[in-house]
C-alpha cells in the first residue's frame, strides 16, 4: 500500500512523502517548518536505558528529603510528597493536586509506560495493551514537568538562603540526574521507529505460524 510512505504534517496538514535521512538528521515540513521526524537509529535502545535509569532515580528522589533548612537551631526538611501533603493541610488542595500530578504522577506514568513498551520490545515481544501505553505516553508527556520543577527549586533555594542556611540533601542531586535522564529518554523515544519494529515483529510472527 503506497499510503505507508505518505506523511501528514500535524501542524499544517500538508501531504508529504517520506525521505531517507542520515543518522541524527531531521526532516522539516516544507511549508510550515515543523519538525516531522528524526533519524534515530539507536533511539529506542537509548530510550530504554535512560528510562530504566530514570526509574531508579525517581525512587531515590522521592524517598529522601530534597533540602534541609536550618534557622537558628530550628531545622526542617521536606520530600516532594511531603510538600504536596503540607499544601493539603494548609487548605489549598487544588495546588497540591497540580504539583502532585506534574512532578510525581505524570512523570511516573511516562517512565513506566516507556519501560513497559521498550523492555519487551528489546526481547522481540509486545506486551498486552501496548497501544494503550503508547497513547498514554502521548497524553502524559506535556504534563510531566520535572525540568520546570528543578528551576523552581533553584529559585526556592536562593530565596531561602537569605532566611536560613540551606543544606542540599541526596534527593536534590537525584532530581537533577532524573531531569536529564527523563529528558533523554523522551527525546530518544522514536515513535516512527517503534511502530516499524512492531510491524517487523508481527511479520516475523506470521511467518512462524
Amino acid at each position: 500500500m503506497d499510503s505507508k510512505e505518505l506523511l501528514v504534517c500535524d501542524q499544517c496538514d500538508l501531504l508529504l512523502r517520506e525521505t531517507a535521512l542520515e543518522p541524527g538528521g531531521k526532516a522539516f515540513c516544507a511549508r510550515c517548518g515543523n519538525v516531522l521526524y528524526r533519524c534515530q537509529p539507536d533511539g529506542l535502545r537509548l530510550s530504554l536505558i535512560f528510562s530504566l535509569t530514570a526509574a531508579v532515580l525517581f525512587l531515590i528522589s522521592n524517598s529522601f528529603p530534597i533540602v534541609t533548612i536550618d534557622s537558628q537551631g530550628l531545622t526542617n526538611s521536606t520530600t516532594l510528597l511531603d510538600a504536596a501533603e503540607r499544601l493539603v493541610h494548609d487548605g489549598i488542595p487544588s495546588i497540591a493536586a497540580l504539583v502532585f500530578a506534574t512532578t510525581f504522577l505524570m512523570p511516573a506514568l511516562e517512565i513506566m509506560a516507556m519501560i513497559y513498551l521498550l523492555l519487551p520490545l528489546h526481547f522481540q515481544r509486545m506486551p498486552p495493551g501496548f497501544s494503550v501505553a503508547f497513547r498514554l505516553i502521548h497524553f502524559v508527556k506535556p504534563w510531566a514537568m520535572i525540568e520546570v520543577f528543578m528551576l523552581g527549586l533553584l529559585v526556592t533555594i536562593s530565596k531561602l538562603s537569605a532566611l536560613a542556611s540551606v543544606v542540599p540533601n541526596i534527593a536534590l542531586g537525584a532530581f537533577v540526574l532524573l531531569m536529564f535522564s527523563v529528558t533523554a529518554a523522551a527525546a530518544n523515544f522514536d515513535r516512527r521507529g517503534y511502530w516499524k519494529r512492531v510491524a517487523d515483529i508481527r511479520q516475523l510472527q506470521e511467518q512462524v505460524c
Binding site: 511549508r31 530550628l74 497513547r135
Partner: protein, 216 residues
C-alpha cells in the same frame, strides 16, 4: 502542495500514521494505535476563546493578590508575584529574578496575546505570513510549561518554612488564580488548531484559480 484533508488522508497525531478516511466522518479511530483522530480539532476556535477569556479574567487576581504570606514575630508580610521578583533582584540574584520575571509575568501575558492574535487572524481568514504565525504557535505551545516555576516555589517555601510563630510561609489566594491561569492557557494552546492558519491560505489560493496546479 497537497492538503491531506482534501485528498481524504488523515495523519494520526499520536502515532503519525497517514491513513485514508472519509472527509465527513465524525468519529475516527487510528487503525494502528487506536487513538481518536480529527481532521481539525473540534470547535477549536470557540473552545480556545472560552479558555482564553477565563484566563484574561483570572490573570488580574493572579497578579494583584498575594501568592505568598510570610508570617513572623513582627507580623505578616504579603508578596505578589511581582514582589517575589523584586525580592530576588534586591537580594543579588539578578539572573534568577530575570528568569522568574519572564516565566511568571511575561510568558502568561505573551501567551494570552499571541493566542488572541492567532484566533483573530484565523477568524478573519488572514493570509498574512502563515509561516511566522505557525512558528508563533509552536513557541506558545513550548514555553507555556515554564510558567509553573512560581507554583513550585510557593509549594516548596510553604513546605520548608514552618517554624510555628517564629516564621512560617503560606501560599495565598493569588497562587490558586495563577496556577489556574497556567493550566487554562496550556489547555487553550492545546485546543487551538494550527492547521486553521493554513486552511485560510489554501482557500485564498484556490480562489485565485491556481487549482490547476494542484492536480499533480
Amino acid at each position: 502542495m497537497l492538503m491531506a484533508r482534501s485528498e481524504g488522508v488523515i495523519g494520526c497525531e499520536t502515532c503519525g500514521l497517514a491513513q485514508r478516511a472519509e472527509p465527513k466522518s465524525a468519529h475516527m479511530v487510528c487503525t494502528r494505535c487506536g487513538a481518536t483522530m480529527h481532521f481539525r480539532k473540534p470547535d477549536s476556535i470557540s473552545r480556545t476563546w472560552a479558555l482564553l477569556i477565563a484566563s484574561y479574567v483570572l490573570i488580574i487576581p493572579a497578579n494583584l493578590m498575594p501568592v505568598m504570606a510570610t508570617g513572623s514575630l513582627f507580623g505578616t508580610e504579603k508578596d505578589t508575584i511581582f514582589g517575589g521578583v523584586v525580592y530576588l533582584w534586591t537580594s543579588d540574584s539578578e539572573v534568577l529574578a530575570i528568569i522568574l520575571f519572564c516565566a511568571s509575568i511575561i510568558i502568561p501575558f505573551a501567551k494570552l496575546f499571541s493566542l488572541s492574535f492567532l484566533l483573530i487572524t484565523v477568524q478573519r481568514g488572514s493570509t498574512w505570513n502563515p509561516r511566522l504565525r505557525a512558528r508563533l504557535y509552536r513557541m506558545v505551545e513550548a514555553i507555556g510549561r515554564w510558567s509553573m516555576i512560581d507554583v513550585y516555589v510557593a509549594t516548596m517555601l510553604t513546605a520548608l518554612v514552618q517554624f510555628g510563630n517564629l516564621m512560617n510561609i503560606r501560599a495565598g489566594a493569588g497562587a490558586i488564580a495563577f496556577a489556574t491561569v497556567v493550566v487554562l492557557t496550556i489547555f487553550a494552546a492545546k485546543s487551538f488548531d494550527p492547521r486553521l492558519i493554513w486552511d485560510a491560505v489554501d482557500r485564498s489560493e484556490s480562489n485565485h484559480s491556481t487549482s490547476e496546479e494542484l492536480h499533480v
